[in-house]
Symmetry: D2
Subunit: 150 residues, 4 copies
């Protein structure tokens, strides 16, 4: 599993490109998600717990957990490609390990292997409450790189 | 793949129980999703396309597609158990086959096998535009049954 | 789920191409697997139960079940492409639903969507004992098409 | 990803129990697989490349790769439970990252989370050729614990 924090940052150009794309994702804004760390091959996305994203027992809905995990993996893949590439999720698999409570959840997408056409990412989601941090979901994702749309 | 429509309905008690649970899912309401058909071992959930649920190119975000697919499978599983059971998603895998455009998407969760502890569902999501209906995602989900919380 | 039998056959050229490839798979021969029905977008592979393919309780090992399911999906994909294409498994996910006993198991790979680059197949494995046929595994597979090696 | 080697060993009782179970897996013997390191929550299985386990291009068949990955995960789970437990694979997902060539492959199963009923493992498979070691497959597996059969 990945260390809870990673210090190396992506270049300003990469960070800017990812922030611009993230800001166009209506769903991330609607859920209340925000970008955290953007490193080479690794992106973090945070999502505060609030009633709008819960399931029937008040925990964060697996769909919200998955949504930020999927985006974190997609942007992690994007950090390793040149400027005018796009990546699309081909598929992912996610295990929900524990109810996601706490103050917020943080998804970490990490590139496991970047190929010419396909990229595989590891997805992890942590529930965070002050200094406590526990793994609540883990997944694996396949993405495809497309020539960029200029 | 499942037929686009199914006519058999679950009992009024089952339908009522599922509607009550669905109404407590903050995320479904926040996304704008609504319950469709509720049959024995099969549940449909619809989600209109609107800017709040898109990714960066204006298609429906994979996270929103997955969220309603996950809920559809969970409720399909719930239709086959007695009144005071609960089901939780253990894991799921989903392939995004095509960009989800159209007027709305419809997720169909179907029980493949219901066991004492674990249930497996097939997940399908269709993009619907008038009379057109095309498969945009397909998945497979494992759920665990828990004794109900009264 | 797919019907237990399918009657439409692929063309003789396609069947011949798939048989020739199957015969080069050392693992299929070593396990004792054989090709069954070869239809357009659907291929069956059978595997008799014997001690060489069991796990510690005498049932067929999930690895053997998966191996024929993976090959069935790969050949199903191959039926839909032109002569000099190759397909490779990108990933698959499989649920083992029940212990695989019986006389033999039969894997059925069915193309769900064939794209220019990626193809998605549904995988099903049945345990067969005389007239009895029960679903023991179900999966979903992603394959990539490569230009053929002449 | 896991470090290529791990030094902590499981207790002699655990190692003995796992070796005894492994020896009853007809498939592992038939493929030519052997147990490597057995640590707490981590088990390695090795498989030499030979014609009996190949696909049509001479690389190790995904089915053989998956089979030892599945067993490695299952035994990793078994290391963390008391003597008379059994574990069964519920499902797994595996990405084949690169053709598996080299002298042999080594699967590493690592427990990510062990629960009362369900356990999730990470699966990695490396191709090894002398001092070279490259990741050829990565997966994620769910297992269920059953009361032991005495």
């Amino acid at each position: 599993m990945s260390p809870p924090s990673a210090t190396e940052s992506a270049t300003p150009e990469v960070r800017e490109r990812i922030r611009a794309s993230f800001d166009r994702q209506g769903l991330m804004r609607h859920l209340g998600a925000s970008l955290g760390h953007i490193g080479p091959g690794r992106v973090h996305i945070e999502l505060p717990r609030r009633p709008e994203i819960t399931q029937q027992h008040g925990y964060i809905h697996a769909g919200a957990t998955s949504a930020i995990a999927d985006s974190a993996g997609g942007y992690a893949a994007l950090t390793v490609f040149e400027v005018d590439s796009e990546v699309l999720t081909v598929e992912y698999k996610i295990n929900l390990l524990a109810p996601a409570g706490g103050h917020h959840i943080e998804a970490v997408g990490t590139v496991v292997r970047a190929g010419r056409t396909l990229t595989v990412c590891q997805l992890e989601v942590f529930a965070v409450d002050g200094a406590e941090r526990s793994l609540v979901a883990v997944g694996q994702q396949t993405l495809i790189r497309l020539p960029g749309k200029r």
